[in-house]
């Protein structure tokens, strides 16, 4: 093997097998083993030749990385001759994340210290540290760039990072979670996977109005959160009993196939109703405190999901309950007299929250 052994072409030709291994943090040697394992046709080639080809690719990737970190630069850079399709493919691969790793990254604040402690995450998720670092840096980079930009997150991500729609949507949710510093690290929440949180975040982003001042795009509109305070009336004594009656009545109508099971369900909800209802309203009430907002997922779990799980309610039953709970709230007599916009505010709040709960209920 020579001290210089390179081959350079005018068009950037990328071996995407090697690219994905590079992204996953394989060293050249490991990459070679992997390629030989995967591609039967290369078996009779000399190892040094395969090694050299991988090295050429790695040289390109190492140079490309600076542009991949700011993908909109990739379009205008003159260093490499890359086609539009290639750019899309490269960026998509580069910003691909491992949900388990991302879940772990979101457990902590995105600080410089955490970047150094990625080894733990790597061990836990059985991923290479380099891969973890890339995913961490990507997220931090996206957040950093977005900080300087105005306008909706999704549009900015699509524009500046040239990501395909679905990936951009996921990142929007992840950025949202990270920016609002939702606490996902509680032990009790550890059964939840990244997709659960992405779903919940997307529910909130699409249903709840965001702050009008563009500076903090991922912040909720404060007035909107304050309006949740008014929902408190639902847990006042004069309304809660009526609400409970309506809900249980409604549930009985819907549940009518398996007598013994349904009876048990109705009895359980009868017992739990006041606590659950109060919890849901309390959560709404406290959302305007940023501390409580951070603990949203934990609160939902501890105050609603856990009690239901303890008595072995199944997901379907909870779904029916939440559905009835929402529908019947509008029918509680005289409630809109007390608070005229009740229906509207309650729906805004509860559709989102019930969707989140259902997603988290597994």
């Amino acid at each position: 093997m020579g001290t210089v052994d390179v081959c350079i072409g005018n068009n950037l030709i990328i071996d995407f097998d090697i690219f994905s291994l590079w992204i996953d943090g394989f060293t050249i040697e490991q990459c070679k083993t992997e390629i030989v394992k995967k591609d039967l046709s290369v078996r009779n080639c000399k190892e040094t030749i395969i090694f050299r080809d991988i090295m050429d690719n790695y040289h390109n990737f190492n140079r490309l990385e600076q542009y991949l970190q700011i993908p909109c630069r990739l379009r205008e850079q003159l260093m490499f001759q890359v086609s539009e399709e290639m750019i899309e493919k490269l960026v998509q691969c580069y910003y691909q994340y491992n949900p388990y790793v991302m879940r772990e990254i979101l457990n902590h604040k995105l600080t410089h210290k955490q970047r150094k402690d990625l080894d733990d995450i790597a061990d836990k998720t059985e991923t290479r540290v380099r891969s973890c670092r890339r995913q961490f840096d990507n997220l931090r980079q996206i957040i950093r760039i977005l900080d300087d930009l105005k306008g909706p997150i999704l549009r900015n991500i699509e524009e500046y990072f040239c990501l395909p729609r679905s990936l951009a949507e996921d990142y929007t949710a992840i950025v949202f979670l990270a920016r609002n510093q939702f606490d996902l690290s509680k032990r009790k929440l550890s059964y939840l996977v990244l997709d659960d949180f992405i779903y919940c975040a997307n529910q909130m982003i699409s249903n709840w109005p965001m702050s009008n001042s563009f500076e903090h795009d991922s912040d909720f509109n404060r007035d909107f959160l304050l309006s949740f305070k008014e929902l408190k009336i639902l847990s006042e004594k004069e309304f809660i009993d009526e609400h409970k009656r309506l809900v249980l009545h409604g549930m009985a109508k819907v549940l009518n196939n398996n007598m013994t099971k349904d009876c048990r369900c109705l009895i359980l909800f009868d017992e739990l109703f006041k606590d659950l209802s109060r919890s849901l309203i309390d959560i709404a009430y406290s959302l305007n405190h940023s501390k409580d907002m951070k603990d949203l997922f934990f609160d939902l779990f501890e105050r609603f999901i856990e009690p239901c799980k303890d008595v072995k309610l199944i997901r379907n039953e909870v779904t029916i309950f939440l559905d009835e709970y929402r529908k019947k709230a509008h029918l509680v007599p005289d409630i809109s007299k007390e608070y005229p916009k009740f229906s509207h505010t309650f729906d805004k709040y509860f559709t989102t929250i019930s969707n989140c709960i259902i997603q988290m209920y597994h």
């Binding site: 020579g2 390179v6 005018n10 068009n11 080639c45 030749i49 140079r63 003159l78 086609s83």
Partner: protein, 822 residues
């Protein structure tokens, strides 16, 4: 004549962070042209994407534009300390002088720093307004178009060839000046880049003057060389073919070339120096022999009837004869009565005269595919000149309408020998032409030109290479020069023996594009020859090499097994290349006739080394199914699309004395296999126009650069979407060149003190070549082009110091910027 350059420095993007605290830069731009013109833009504060939108103009002389590049320097403003350099851009404005060329230059140029590489891009515009100069004694030679492509440019019609033009300038190399000991590396590198760019401009300007003098309008097949002679200085040489061409208009009928009655004017250049009486005599002879040519002949008009082109319009060549070559070993520091430039001039004149006399002894009157090269090691240099001796059709220019029917009638006549059977210039076996049965043909023809479409070939072509290496004693000066020159004939002989042997075993009989490179190392001499071999129909079928066994003690069985091996190998080659003839037993047996004995390749088995040689002759390419050639076209294959141009660089660290032919062959096979692996996803491809450049450094490392193009054939057109196509071919397969936009000639130096951190020397070189290609593309785009043809890396020197973690590389690339239509 004064002219005006209107320049716009518009904006930059993606600048590096120069100020850590604010994570931005305060950039401004200095623009220089020549000694007197200077402009500075305001500082654009705190931005990595500054916008200056400065527009201004310089008043310049025409000859300045030919020599001076526009220098753009981007800096970071510092209030308290000196400004930090971000990088520079050199822009050659020569293409704007060309009346047919682009009128303005506009685009993003990568900002290049010799220590950091490309750091962002800057958008520059330039437009030239000039009054043309009609003064006879002018210094400028604008309007003469230069083409590096070694053929008649696409879309043009050749009117006539006017002569061989050459020019040479000598200067001190800034790297070896005393001041270099005290200045920073960046300043030194930039001084070199600037000087070399300027010198190459000067060479072109001077050649241009000569061209105008002999009333030509362009230089075709322009070759430029940088001879880095170290402490002896730097020589920039240019050679080319002056010619008159006109753009092809709607109808193909071309005008008659203007009759040139007057002799060329006396000018202060060296072209019209004395013509020796001997050559005059030869002229007489020539005229006597070819009475029907009515006095007009290229060879008469030109002092040196050498043409640097490798492809000629059909009907131009009457007959090709063979390679003529001349070499000479010189000492750089020889203190003779002439000054340095003059002595170097004399050396080349000697060589050219020798080539001319070789040509004449072959009864030829023109040398085609002519090149001049120089290899240097310390104070010894080897000058070489090669070309293909040939005859051309005198009627070609006189009667353009006749061209077409003429070449259709006698296709095989190009192969016929021009000399009489009774007066052979050297011992050669002649036989009747296999196509017409009339003319006499030799058994093999070696040429340095591209494959001639007129000569019918059978089957596919193949790359052939021969390597000779030989250790030499460490010495210097006179002794060293003598040793090298003593060995030179043996080397030449050995290279040809190998070529001939390999050619026969391949079952072929013709070589195109033969290129021989001599490299001298401190203790090693090396020669590499490469060519495209093919089977030309008019020439006789090759016969199996004969094994002669002088000593009776060698076992008969061993000889037989060797013979069988050879036959098997030959049969395999015939099948692989589709040569479509049978190795009949008669051809194998019949070896005793008088005629054959000359044509035959004899392998004498005197010792075991010879046996080694037999194995060496059997190339491995056929076994590995690699199709390769050293020419732009592959006989027997029509290319579809250009997949990729590649540059492969390999440097090995080894005691060079221990490097033998076998080891070098292994390296080449390794490089080829590596390329084969890279393109394994494509089914039908050819590695075309392969060209190797070998340099030996000190006594412990050798660098081999292999450039080529990967072309596909017989496949549906693979469309590679790119902005700028760069190819080392003079054409783009499946595309038409619409317009030639000018010569791109970049001289770049890159240095690094962090070799280990950036992927070692490999990483360094990979990065630099990528940057060079990026710069080339930017220059092509700024001229409104979309391709660069005839790309050539004429110089690539890598120096390193592993202890200091340092590396320096110097590269010169040239090519023709063009606009193509697919």
């Amino acid at each position: 004549m004064p002219g005006k350059i209107k320049i716009g420095i518009l904006k930059a993007r993606n600048l590096p962070i120069m100020d850590r605290s604010s994570e931005s830069s305060d950039a401004f731009v200095e623009v220089r042209f020549g000694n007197d013109n200077y402009y500075k833009t305001p500082v654009y504060k705190k931005s990595l994407d500054p916008e200056w939108n400065s527009r201004f103009f310089f008043e310049v002389e025409e000859d300045e534009i030919q020599e001076e590049p526009l220098q753009i320097r981007v800096l970071d403003h510092d209030t308290y300390s000196s400004h930090d350099a971000i990088g520079k851009v050199y822009i050659d404005l020569k293409p704007l002088l060309n009346p047919n060329g682009p009128t303005a230059l506009n685009g993003f140029f990568p900002i290049f720093d010799t220590l950091h590489g490309i750091r962002g891009d800057i958008k520059v515009q330039a437009r030239l307004e000039i009054l043309s100069d009609c003064n006879e004694y002018r210094k400028s030679s604008s309007g003469v178009q230069f083409f590096t492509s070694s053929r008649i440019p696409e879309g043009y019609v050749l009117q006539n060839f006017c002569g061989f033009v050459e020019e040479m300038v000598l200067n001190d190399d800034p790297e070896y000046q005393w001041i270099d000991k005290i200045r920073a590396p960046r300043a030194s590198n930039e001084a070199r880049q600037k000087l070399f760019t300027k010198l190459s401009g000067e060479v072109q300007r001077r050649i241009g003057l000569k061209v105008l003098d002999i009333e030509a309008n362009c230089v075709l097949g322009y070759q430029q060389y940088f001879d880095l002679e170290g402490e002896f200085g730097i020589v920039v040489r240019g050679i080319g073919t002056a010619a008159n061409i006109i753009r092809q208009t709607g109808n193909i009928k071309s005008q008659l070339f203007p009759e040139i009655s007057k002799h060329s004017k006396i000018s202060p250049n060296r072209l019209t120096k004395k013509i020796s009486s001997e050559s005059d005599l030869n002229h007489q002879n020539l005229i006597n022999k070819q009475e029907n040519q009515n006095g007009y002949s290229i060879s008469e008009k030109m002092e040196y009837p050498f043409l640097t082109l490798q492809q000629y319009p059909s009907g131009f060549i009457k007959s090709v004869c063979g390679i003529v070559c001349s070499r000479s070993v010189k000492l750089l520091n020889s203190n003779n009565e002439f000054d340095d430039l003059e002595s170097r001039d004399k050396w080349w004149i000697e060589i050219r005269n020798e080539i001319r006399s070789h040509m004449k002894s072959l009864d030829c009157h023109v040398v085609l595919g002519y090149t001049e090269t120089k290899s240097i090691c310390e104070d010894v240099c080897v000058l070489s000149a090669t070309g293909t001796a040939a005859l051309f059709n005198e009627a070609f220019f006189a009667n353009p309408l006749k061209r077409i029917d003429e070449n259709s009638s006698e296709k095989c006549s190009i192969c016929h020998v021009p000399y009489d059977e009774t007066e052979l210039p050297f011992p050669v076996a002649l036989s009747k032409c296999a196509v017409c049965g009339q003319g006499q043909v030799p058994d093999v023809i070696f040429t340095s030109i591209q494959p001639l479409p007129e000569i019918e070939t059978i089957g596919r072509g193949s790359l052939i290479k021969a390597i000779v290496s030989r250790p030499r004693k460490k010495s210097s000066g006179e002794i060293s020069a003598k040793m090298i020159s003593d060995y030179m004939p043996f080397m030449e002989y050995e290279l040809h023996r190998q070529l001939l042997g390999k050619l026969k075993i391949k079952g072929m009989n013709m070589l195109y594009g033969l290129k021989v490179q001599i490299s001298i190392g401190e203790n090693l001499l090396m020669g590499i020859a490469e060519a495209t071999a093919c089977f030309a129909a008019p020439l006789p079928k090759p016969i199996l090499p004969k094994i002669i066994n002088d000593k009776m003690n060698r076992e008969f069985k061993e000889i037989e097994s060797l013979k069988k091996l050879l036959i098997d190998e030959m049969q395999r080659n015939i099948d692989f290349y589709g040569l479509d003839f049978k190795l009949s037993s008669s051809t194998i047996e019949q070896t005793d006739s008088e005629n054959d004995s000359k044509a035959l390749l004899k392998i004498e088995l005197d010792d075991y080394r010879e046996k080694e040689n037999i194995y060496q002759l059997m190339d491995s390419a056929a076994k590995k199914n690699i199709l390769a050639c050293s020419t732009e076209y592959m006989p027997g294959i029509e290319f579809n699309s250009n997949l990729q141009m590649f540059t492969s660089i390999y440097r090995c660290e080894a005691k060079l004395v221990q490097m033998n032919i076998k080891k070098f062959n292994e390296i080449f096979d390794y490089i080829l296999e590596g390329l084969n692996y890279k393109f394994r996803k494509y089914k039908n491809y050819v590695l075309a126009n392969l060209s190797t450049d070998t340099s030996l450094f000190d006594d412990d490392h050798a660098m081999i650069i292999l450039t080529g193009s990967c072309l596909t054939y017989g496949e549906s057109n693979i469309d590679i979407k790119n902005n700028v196509e760069i190819t080392n071919l003079s054409y783009v397969p499946n595309a038409r060149i619409e317009r030639y936009l000018g010569l791109v000639n970049l001289f770049l130096i890159r240095e690094s003190t962090q070799i280990k951190e950036n992927g070692g020397l490999s990483g360094f070189m990979h990065c630099f070549i990528t940057e060079v290609l990026a710069l080339v593309r930017a220059h092509v785009l700024s001229l409104d082009g979309n391709a660069l043809v005839s790309f050539k890396m004429t110089e690539c020197v890598l120096l390193d110091n592993p202890h200091r973690n340092q590396g320096q590389c110097l590269i010169n690339v040239t090519g023709d910027a063009v606009r193509i239509v697919k």
